[in-house]
């Protein structure tokens, strides 16, 4: 790919990118979120058309106007969300041949004719044990990924994009995937490997390209020291520091011991004090959301939860909330808001027992509370009767937080609270969180954006594969070190 330029509106996301992959190599594509990796790969896969620049394969220039063109030219894409690309109720056989079945001219297709072809493909991806008649929904995630890979190979792809292939794989499955990649490599297939896990990149990849802000900042060997890779990815960042003027009490208010996270099959210990903002940094798939949901008993789990020294036996979020722990969830539209209701009804849903002590809702009282919250949180439009679905992402987030502000909650768990909101709203969310801490509330803040933690947290934990690998005082942490730890630099 030569001199690729791409823009979304006024924003240039790719600024003359050159990207070369040799036949039979595994080439890592690295960069922070927003560096332009996905855009570049979408252009290569024919999903997006570049503003300028060319794609050459074996010396021949191609123009891809659709994903179909890219497939014909030998580009295969194994997406991160494998379930979105598969037909769960159909057999492995049909899933692998999906594209051929769509393309073929006649109406019927013979199962026996292509049987050997499918078996060969399954063998190539290391799924020889799997019967082609199995329905895909009974397969494991790892198998689904390989089935998708087999589909890509069925149309004789020679350049295969793997997008975060190990994000939800176990250690053993990752190993098997790597063996398979090695085998296909010897057959002349090239891979473009996108991942945040740097130790894996070093293990499997031959060369790498690092993107930062839409430009290539490094291209070459993977033997580069991890610290240097991180430096290239991060670049020079303005150091925004949290001037801590708060008193953090000595009193531990909420604590979990040996709390089991079902998805990652790990246990976690964590304690948070009054007035403290504990930040938890981890990549997507590190188990942050699962830990947050385990804390408030949203998922069934084992382990101890201790509130102000007393052991708790919560069976549902209701009990956690009544004890003073609340969650501001990551998926705010799906989990946090009543989209078709008014701002007022969303804000007062936890306050109904004060607004309606004898069942009867005192509307004037409710309106007063809502108006007060709307103005103190600067929610726009500033009308309590606006429907939440008409608000911007940032204002919606303020509504989700506002719901808890006047309750008796002592512990606030934030899961990626700045996801999808603009810079201004981010600052507002930060100041709300700081104000809460100043009032003696305890905050647990989950994010994959570690700059935010340097900005707001007092103590930072780094989470990798469901476990804390590091605990550090925010004043001593550096951005590069956090990225290094988060991407598994320390666990090699």
């Amino acid at each position: 790919m030569k001199q690729i330029v791409h823009t979304f509106g006024d924003v240039t996301v790719l600024n003359g990118v050159n990207f070369h992959v040799q036949p039979g190599e595994v080439h890592a594509l690295l960069g922070m979120n927003g560096a332009g990796k996905s855009t570049l790969m979408n252009i290569l896969a024919g999903v997006l058309q570049p503003v300028s620049g060319t794609i050459e394969i074996d010396g021949k220039t191609h123009t891809f106007s659709s994903p179909k063109d890219a497939k014909r030219a030998g580009i295969g894409h194994v997406v991160q969300e494998v379930d979105a690309a598969l037909f769960p109720a159909l057999s492995v056989y049909e899933n692998i041949l999906a594209e051929q079945i769509v393309e073929q001219k006649h109406m019927f297709f013979s199962k026996t004719k292509k049987r050997t072809f499918v078996s060969q493909l399954l063998e190539r991806v290391g799924l020889a044990h799997l019967s082609p008649d199995t329905t895909v929904q009974t397969c494991t995630l790892h198998e689904k990924q390989l089935i998708l890979l087999a589909r890509v190979l069925s149309s004789s792809a020679r350049y295969i994009i793997l997008d975060e292939p190990t994000a939800s794989l176990s250690e053993e499955e990752t190993k098997r995937l790597f063996t398979m990649i090695e085998q296909l490599k010897t057959q002349g297939v090239s891979f473009i490997y996108i991942s945040h896990k740097l130790h894996e990149v070093k293990r499997i990849c031959d060369r790498m390209t690092i993107l930062r802000d839409g430009s290539v900042v490094y291209e070459g060997d993977v033997s580069l020291a991890t610290e240097d890779i991180v430096r290239h990815m991060v670049g020079r960042q303005p150091e925004v520091r949290n001037a801590r003027a708060r008193n953090i009490s000595k009193e531990t208010i909420f604590e979990v011991k040996q709390l089991y996270i079902p998805k990652t099959k790990t246990t976690v210990d964590l304690a948070v004090r009054r007035g403290e903002i504990v930040g938890i940094a981890g990549l997507v798939g590190a188990g942050k959301t699962e830990l947050a949901e385990s804390m408030i008993a949203y998922v069934k789990t084992t382990g101890e939860r201790i509130m102000q020294g007393k052991k708790q036996t919560w069976a549902s979020p209701k009990e956690a909330i009544e004890a003073g722990v609340c969650l501001i969830p990551e998926e705010r539209r799906k989990q946090g808001l009543f989209m078709n209701e008014t701002v007022e009804k969303n804000l007062t849903v936890r306050l109904l027992s004060t607004i309606a002590p004898w069942q009867w809702i005192r509307k004037r009282h409710e309106r007063a509370i809502a108006t007060n919250l709307v103005s103190s949180l600067h929610i726009r439009p500033s009308s309590p009767t606006a429907l939440v679905k008409h608000l911007s992402g940032g204002n919606q987030q303020k509504v989700v937080i506002g719901k808890w502000l006047q309750t008796n909650s002592d512990v606030f768990i934030f899961d990626e609270p700045t996801k999808g909101i603009d810079v201004h709203a981010k600052e507002e969310v930060f100041s709300i969180i700081r104000a809460l801490a100043e009032k003696g509330k305890a905050i647990i803040y989950f994010t994959s954006e570690c700059q935010e933690l340097l900005h707001i947290a007092d103590t930072i934990y780094v989470m990798v594969d469901g476990q804390f690998v590091k605990k550090v005082d925010a004043l001593e942490a550096t951005y590069e070190q956090l990225v290094y730890d988060m991407t598994g630099g320390g666990t090699n």
Binding site: A320, M339, N340, E341
Partner: protein, 319 residues
């Protein structure tokens, strides 16, 4: 266009009334309107129940058969067992609540899809009332299989519910209005009513906000069963016999009324006032068509078309 969303339903009712008044001589009379209201009082009760199940984002198809069951239960208590008014009211209501509890168990505990679970329950309950009566209606002085005639009869106090009048207004209409108003006040102005809506709006968010969603969903199905049973009592009293499968046709009318109610005033949510207007709409339409000598079997076509129309409208309002 916005005006049409908001007042379209009301406009349609006015147009239909105007049309029938102009074409039919005896339509726009007090007697006929009292007749229409009397006939919709049962449908409205059933439709309020359905509205409750819709509010918690559920669905209850079993209401029609619950009406039948309640009708039979009332008749049986009075005619076969010679019981007094209280028993003839309490037994069907308890049965209705029980059906609701059964629905809730299948939907919430066993996680069956609401449409299919209540469809199955609809068949079961229908079978139960047919088995109990062996397919025969229950009426005054009916001959018993073991010889002789039934000991009891439909007592006047029971018949008053469906046939009596207070201040020249049918009692069943007053009962309907009273329940519409109470249900409306409950859903709009009380804490529990608010939480019913929140549960239906976004169950996951409600759960994470500490609302006991399964409890409210159970209540909603039980209320649905209770209202259907009440409809059955009024129906038994109105016709003065315990007719088998009497409630079967009420399901469709009730569902249509509740969905027409969605779009009234452009609210886009199930609501009781809308449901009342929906059932008035259907009542007026059916009454007029009957007077125009459209046979009852052809009226099903109108009802079906009306439901499609209401669904399309509520879908548009939602957007």
């Amino acid at each position: 266009m916005k005006f049409l969303y908001k007042y379209g339903t009301i406009l349609a009712i006015v147009i239909v009334i105007a049309f029938f008044s102009l074409t039919l001589d005896s339509f726009f009379t007090y007697a006929n309107f009292s007749d229409i209201l009397r006939s919709i009082s049962i449908v409205t009760l059933v439709a309020i129940g359905i509205t409750f199940s819709l509010i918690v984002d559920g669905f209850d198809l079993s209401v029609g058969s619950t009406v039948s069951l309640a009708t039979i239960a009332s008749a049986s208590a009075l005619v076969l067992h010679r019981q007094e008014l209280l028993v003839a009211l309490v037994v069907p209501l308890l049965l209705g609540a029980l059906v609701g509890l059964l629905n809730a168990f299948f939907i919430i505990r066993l996680r069956l899809p609401d449409l299919l679970a209540t469809l199955a329950v609809m068949y079961i309950i229908n079978g139960v009332q047919l088995t109990y009566t062996k397919g025969f209606s229950i009426y005054n002085d009916m001959p018993l299989p073991e010889g002789g005639v039934a000991p009891g009869k439909f007592i006047p106090s029971f018949l008053f519910i469906g046939q009596g009048e207070l201040f020249g207004v049918p009692f069943s209409v007053l009962l309907m209005l009273l329940l519409v108003i109470s249900a409306h006040l409950f859903l709009t102005y009380t804490k529990t009513g608010r939480l019913f809506y929140m549960t239906g709006e976004n169950r996951e968010a409600a759960h994470l906000t500490g609302i006991p969603v399964n409890r409210y969903r159970t209540y909603a199905y039980m209320i649905s069963g209770l209202f259907a049973a009440l409809g059955g009592i009024v129906l038994a009293s109105r016709i003065g016999t315990g007719q088998v499968s009497a409630g079967a046709s009420l399901l469709m009318d009730g569902v249509a009324a509740a969905f027409i109610g969605f779009s009234v005033f452009g609210i886009g949510k199930p609501n009781v006032i809308g449901t009342l207007l929906g059932s008035i709409f259907i009542g007026v339409l059916l009454n007029g068509l009957t007077m125009m000598n459209v046979p009852y079997y052809a009226q099903d076509i109108v009802k079906g078309a009306l439901l499609i129309f209401a669904l399309a409208l509520s879908h548009m309002v939602k957007k």
